[in-house]
Symmetry: C2
Subunit: 172 residues, 2 copies
């Protein structure tokens, strides 16, 4: 049983309810724009600045010409997908009244370096991404599978990767 | 003029050359797999673990039900794209012998929350991503434009977003 002081899974369903009601009144409230600024720090090092948060560092491994000081961009992409799925499980399991004991998400992606290195034309990005979700929650297997399907069907980062998104890059 | 002690743009072209030569000898060396592990921390908070680096925190803004303690996954995705493009400019400008004075990359993406919130079916992810690259480098405009085109054509994260990538998510 949840009360005002012991929220299930520590998820603030009330804030989501408020947002959903606001979008019901004005659908344009669902149109959001997100942003980031990246600054180059020399070599293959850079960092991203998002809102007022501390910058997140990026680098390539030494074998790829970097100094190995931070995760590289394709690893960051996997992290973003995993974090997005975690939000999806937390939101949908909580909405179903199911307590989460533990959630660990393992991600991996295959990438052929030929295009990035200028040795061939073609896909420079991931050819496939695999995700293994280790979910320990109180619900029965059927309920957990249904919620899993819903999470995958509604993941913003998952959809961005699974679809061809127009990416326009201009020299300003 | 670059010497062993003053590398142009601080980029280690030698390491990239070694890798390119190794792939020439054995093309399978270009087949790489990258990974990340994400762990849920309660609410909409989680963190990604990549190699031995300090974990990277993730959260949603308060308006979306989070506690606003860290960038959210769709912002992290934009950061990953910007960091990837920064590596591309650094690599290709350095290979062309062009000194970079400053590089700042501004990214934004539009996202309709209806699908994520379960209010509609369809695309939960970015509908479009726009990137403005502010490049201050020593080359002439034609050279910089050519390199810009090459960077966009060979960006691993850019290609992953611009194409439909198979993303398989399994309950383990």
């Amino acid at each position: 049983m949840t009360t005002a002081t012991t929220r299930l899974n520590d998820v603030d369903l009330e804030a989501m309810g408020t947002l959903i009601a606001a979008i019901g009144d004005d659908p344009e409230k669902a149109d959001t724009t997100w942003s980031a600024v990246v600054r180059w720090d020399g070599g293959f090092r850079s960092h991203s600045e998002i809102r007022d948060f501390a910058p997140t560092a990026s680098d390539e491994p030494r074998g790829l010409g970097g100094t190995g000081s931070a995760p590289n961009p394709v690893e960051q992409l996997l992290g973003a997908l995993g974090n997005c799925l975690a939000v999806g499980y937390a939101a949908n399991l909580t909405a179903a009244g199911i307590k989460i004991n533990d959630l660990r998400i393992e991600l991996e992606g295959d990438l052929d370096l030929h295009t990035f290195l200028g040795l061939a034309e073609g896909n420079a990005g991931y050819e496939a991404i695999r995700v293994a979700v280790h979910l320990d929650a109180e619900g029965d297997e059927t309920a957990l599978r249904e919620i899993h399907d819903k999470v995958v069907a509604t993941s913003p980062v998952g959809h961005t990767l699974g679809r061809a998104i127009p990416v326009r890059v201009d020299l300003a």
